[in-house]
């Protein structure tokens, strides 16, 4: 009884704890710092005052202007969008599949995109295609086609069982990867370019990549951000979510398409970058809880910042050479995540 009265005096935390804006402030600050580091650091260091002067067009140093506008800024934008896309869709896939091991590539987007890129190279598509880069476009289209195919295979009547989706996605991924390897073995050395691009294309893209990626990422992530409540309901399983009033098959399709669109665009323009989509949502969850209405926007901001930092490391560790960014995300990301996991006090956070 005493406890009950205490609860009346301290009413329970309301369901939308949106007033707690500290996580958002911290992650936006983290993102700003990462952006500045990414602009300033590289083979040539540009001091922050010079960065500012160049941006407002008052720099006396034309080299700085060239480096900034043609190299650093497009690369920063591309990495930012890619990190946001991977972490945002990773968080959504984890919620959609109710599986902590889900990452953005789970149902075959990456292997489908890789296959598309290699096919496009082996049939020697023209470089430009309706004004867009042919290989990223091929990768994007085959990535999306893979998701739709996997979705269609997994469908049973009106519903799409999660287990079917994961199994169909994993098996189709293996198939597509094997086919990719086969095509590469059968062909001349030219296809190595495709592989190199897939393993880390961020250094290759310019403003045209950024502009091509931007609409997909903005639309996809906006759709995922408004799906937080639906994802919360889906954590109770399809039956309960439906019984609480969610149109489950429509919500799942909506989230799957939005997350896949985002991932396919990121893979097409930045290559396959592992780990960000898996661990950033988990770090957010461990620190700030599993409410998907917060988890998704926080993952988006955190993913962008984390990938920017990884990219800075990739540029400086063995300068003047560059490491593939995927190596940095795994090498630096794993110990960090294990440290967070070890320190986590809240049991059963998943």
């Amino acid at each position: 009884m005493v406890e009950a009265r205490l609860a009346y005096r301290n009413p329970p935390r309301p369901y939308p704890p949106m007033k707690k804006s500290l996580p958002f402030l911290l992650s936006i600050l983290f993102l700003l710092i990462s952006v500045l580091l990414s602009i300033a650091i590289g083979s040539v260091f540009i001091p922050l005052p010079d960065v500012w002067k160049t941006l407002i067009g008052q720099s006396a140093n034309p080299t700085f202007a060239t480096i900034l506008w043609d190299i650093r800024l497009p690369r920063t934008a591309l990495v930012l969008l890619t990190g946001a896309a991977l972490a945002g869709s990773g968080a959504s896939y984890q919620g959609l599949f109710r599986n902590p091991l889900a990452d953005p590539y789970l149902i075959g987007v990456a292997s489908g995109a890789g296959l598309g890129a290699v096919i496009a190279m082996s049939i020697q598509w023209p470089y430009s295609f309706f004004g867009l880069m042919a290989i990223p476009m091929a990768a994007f289209l085959t990535g999306m086609a893979t998701v739709l195919l996997v979705y269609w295979i997994a469908r049973v009547g009106q519903s799409v069982p999660t287990t079917n989706l994961i199994l169909a996605g994993t098996v189709f991924s293996s198939f597509a990867s094997a086919l990719t390897s086969f095509l590469m073995l059968r062909s001349s050395g030219d296809l190595h370019r495709a592989l190199g691009w897939l393993l880390g294309g961020v250094s290759l893209g310019g403003w045209d990549s950024v502009l091509a990626l931007l609409p997909y990422v903005i639309v996809g992530l906006a759709l995922l951000t408004v799906s937080g409540h639906a994802l919360n309901l889906l954590q109770f399983g399809d039956d309960q979510a439906q019984q609480m009033g969610l149109n489950v098959s429509r919500a799942k399709t909506f989230i799957l398409i939005a997350a896949s669109l985002t991932t396919a665009a990121a893979v097409a323009f930045a290559g396959i970058i592992g780990f960000v989509g898996l661990i950033v949502p988990h770090v957010v969850r461990l620190w700030w809880g599993g409410d998907y209405r917060r988890l998704i926007p926080l993952s988006i901001i955190g993913g962008a910042a984390a990938l920017l930092l990884a990219d800075v490391l990739a540029r400086v560790v063995i300068a003047p050479q560059e490491l593939p960014i995927g190596i940095v995300t795994a090498l630096a990301g794993s110990p960090f995540f294990l440290w967070v996991l070890r320190r986590a006090k809240n049991q059963g956070y998943w």
Partner: protein, 256 residues
């Protein structure tokens, strides 16, 4: 008042429920009994729109349920599931507020009224004291009360319960059914409850429907349905049925 006429559920070519016809009055508690796999849970799933069903009539207070979307249906009937699949990371308060979903927009924005209703539901099941705790840290009995509160927060005239006592000990089995009984009486709720325990069903339900192999084998008051011949035939085990020495209920004892 629920009216069901000739409801069928089939998975592929297999018929799970055959020609189910039921009529449950407002304020009445009907228990669905039957052996494992007889179709009790499927009936609850069919009524709540989760299992695909065909029927001649499925209506609530004269209003047909066919063609209703998930949210409209969730404003008419709430389901208390078994506790097996609760996401442990949500707090009790968050879980109960999710019961307000059919009244919310896609973003799930909560109003003060929704919070008041959720708090009221938690008070009814005496769970307000642990509203801040995570569901994963609760005992089975507490979790089941949270699920009941979530269903109450849906503010529906009909409550469907799917074997809610299965994972509970004796105290919590009786406690939960007492609570449901009291709520049904106080708020004039229509309750359909799938149960395994014949004694609990005899004590807390106004009427029983005995479902065997997807068909209603017997329908009536506990005294009409629970006779030794019927139970022995359905459960393939001899039983004795006797009047409780001082309560107005039946006792069913397996022999052997």
């Amino acid at each position: 008042m629920i009216e069901i006429k000739n409801l069928n559920v089939s998975y592929g070519s297999r018929l799970i429920l055959k020609n189910i016809s039921l009529h449950v009055k407002k304020g009445e508690t009907l228990a669905l009994l039957g052996p494992n796999g007889s179709g009790k849970s499927t009936l609850i799933r069919a009524l709540s729109g989760v299992a695909p069903a065909s029927f001649d009539t499925l209506s609530l207070s004269g209003r047909s349920l066919s063609g209703l979307n998930a949210a409209a249906r969730a404003r008419l009937m709430a389901v208390v599931p078994q506790t097996v699949s609760l996401p442990p990371a949500f707090t009790v308060w968050e879980t109960v507020l999710l019961g307000r979903t059919p009244y919310l927009n896609f973003l799930g924005q909560i109003s003060a009224k929704d919070e008041a209703i959720a708090r009221c539901a938690l008070t009814k099941v005496d769970a307000l004291s642990f509203a801040k705790r995570r569901v994963g840290q609760l005992s089975g009995g507490e979790q089941q009360r949270v699920l009941l509160a979530r269903a109450l927060a849906q503010s529906t005239p009909v409550l469907l319960l799917d074997e809610p006592t299965t994972h509970l000990d004796l105290q919590h089995q009786v406690g939960l059914l007492e609570l449901v009984h009291k709520l049904a009486r106080d708020e004039n709720l229509t309750v359909l409850i799938a149960l395994h325990d014949l004694n609990l069903a005899a004590r807390y339900a106004d009427r029983l429907a005995l479902i065997v192999d997807g068909e209603i084998k017997a329908l009536g008051t506990p005294k009409e349905v629970l006779n030794p011949e019927m139970i022995a035939a359905v459960y393939h085990w001899p039983v004795q049925v006797m009047q409780h020495p001082f309560l107005d209920t039946l006792l069913i004892l397996p022999e052997g």
